[in-house]
């Protein structure tokens, strides 16, 4: 059994996962989720860690409601109790500004999350694109 297969099987067991594609060459696991799922990115990081690997930078596509909380742009992700803090992405700093113009709207945000030392610690979603 290859290492990639172990990760593939573990990810497929997660509730709400629609499909999993693990690429050996890229060291990348792409997970598509079903509507109404209640998963969060740190949960995937912990799963990867439990299987003996180190999660790295994660590209995320997430749908939610944009809100301003104490001057901080946030994405309320229903289906979970999670509220993602949004941050500017150095590679596309204008995307954060675009997001701030859509307060109160339901949007799809694409961005990057970098796991901290403690995988459970909330980290900001660096916004790359808002639709």
């Amino acid at each position: 059994m290859t290492c990639a297969h172990v990760v593939d099987v573990a990810l497929r067991k997660v509730a709400g996962v629609e499909s999993v594609d693990v690429s050996l060459n890229k060291g990348l696991a792409t997970v598509k989720l079903k509507p109404g799922n209640a998963q969060s990115v740190p949960q995937f990081w912990e799963l990867i860690h439990k299987n003996g690997y180190t999660p790295k930078s994660t590209a995320v596509s997430v749908r939610g409601d944009l809100a301003n909380v104490n001057g901080q742009l946030r994405l309320n992700v229903s289906g979970t109790k999670e509220t993602l803090t949004l941050a500017a992405n150095p590679k596309n700093p204008t995307a954060y500004g675009e997001a701030s113009k859509k307060l109160g709207q339901t949007v799809t945000v694409q961005g990057v999350m970098e796991p901290g030392k403690d995988l459970k610690t909330p980290v900001p979603l660096q916004v790359s694109q808002v639709e």
């Binding site: 290859t2 290492c3 990639a4 990760v7 709400g16 693990v22 050996l24 060291g27 990348l28 696991a29 792409t30 997970v31 598509k32 989720l33 509507p35 109404g36 799922n37 209640a38 998963q39 969060s40 990115v41 995937f44 990081w45 990867i48 003996g52 690997y53 180190t54 999660p55 790295k56 930078s57 994660t58 590209a59 995320v60 596509s61 997430v62 749908r63 939610g64 409601d65 994405l75 309320n76 992700v77 229903s78 289906g79 979970t80 339901t106 799809t108």
Partner: protein
């Protein structure tokens, strides 16, 4: 009874609203995979 049904119907409608959101996709980079 009628009130309970009303609350239940409201919860079902809330769950079906298009504004409901969630993770759509994650691309996990994994170190040490071979």
């Amino acid at each position: 009874m009628r009130k309970a049904l009303s609350v239940l119907a409201s919860l079902i409608i809330m769950g079906a609203l298009p504004g409901r959101a969630e993770l759509l996709q994650v691309d996990l980079s994994i170190f040490g995979m071979d």
